[in-house]
Point group: C2
Amino acid sequence: MSQKHVGWAPPTENDVDNIGGQTSASSVESCPPYTLRDEVTPADRDAVRQLVERTGFFRSDEVEIAVELVDERLARGPASGYYFVFTELGDALAGYACYGPTACTESSFDLYWIAVDPKLQGRGLGRQLMSEVEARVRGAGGTRIYVDTSGRPQYQPTRTFYERNGFHCEAVLRDFYAPGDDRVIYVKCLCE
Amino acid sequence: MSQKHVGWAPPTENDVDNIGGQTSASSVESCPPYTLRDEVTPADRDAVRQLVERTGFFRSDEVEIAVELVDERLARGPASGYYFVFTELGDALAGYACYGPTACTESSFDLYWIAVDPKLQGRGLGRQLMSEVEARVRGAGGTRIYVDTSGRPQYQPTRTFYERNGFHCEAVLRDFYAPGDDRVIYVKCLCE
């Protein structure tokens, strides 16, 4: 056990590129400069901070959590329970996702974070990252992926993104984050 | 942010003393040797491990989590986000609860752990611990306390305990812990 419960942070996703269906993941494949990477390096600390800040979507305490997850992974390796997928455009971080097995469960995983550089949204990078996370979770024997977000109106694109990626809303905890700010719990079953 | 997400562990409660209404918290008051304590000392590490093991209710990985929360508190103090209430009979640990503020929420708290020595159950110690946690959460400005448990039949006493202490079931995540083992999320609103 070494994971921090950032599942309670709303791991919002500002990559609304899938909304409206402008592009699809295949458009990424036609952009060779995009590369995927699993390893975490010390340089990712600043890169993740800058990317998450650039989205303009996260509060400062949420940004700190994003960075802490990188720190935890750097310090403890896989034992941290945090796994990453980075997508890069040349040397620049274009987007990333952080996920890991859920403590005390047989095969549930949490998606803690997923974010795409706002300048690179609309190219299917969010969907691609989600697909990569799913493949890795399946490979690790995972059967369910959970992700939380807020029920506030400004998170509608986030919720739509999850729904378009096969997640369904399983529970709503009223006023969890604050009065009027519900926690919405999504799940995707990989075993179906 | 320094909390581990043990909220996902089923913080089961084997103190079923409130079931059947045999005794009430007032019986504790008539037992002067019971004392309450908030501070965490290095000796609590072993005491918590032994108590949690004695309940016979927790898996070994769950026991390790209970100990890790003590370690985290000892290492980081209040910054760990873990707060404790211990009830003692003389020098011996009779029961304890661990709780803390929920990250990224305005005033929600999690009850991570609550356990009573099986030899001392039926004396209202569980209810007293819950009451002490509530008082401390209120004092810290908290408005909601969340606690998770399993939906399996053997956790019915746990669920009954929460319900008798003013919690209500707000959500069920199907097959969360394992196939056939749901996560049941209880909440108690302190603002009502």
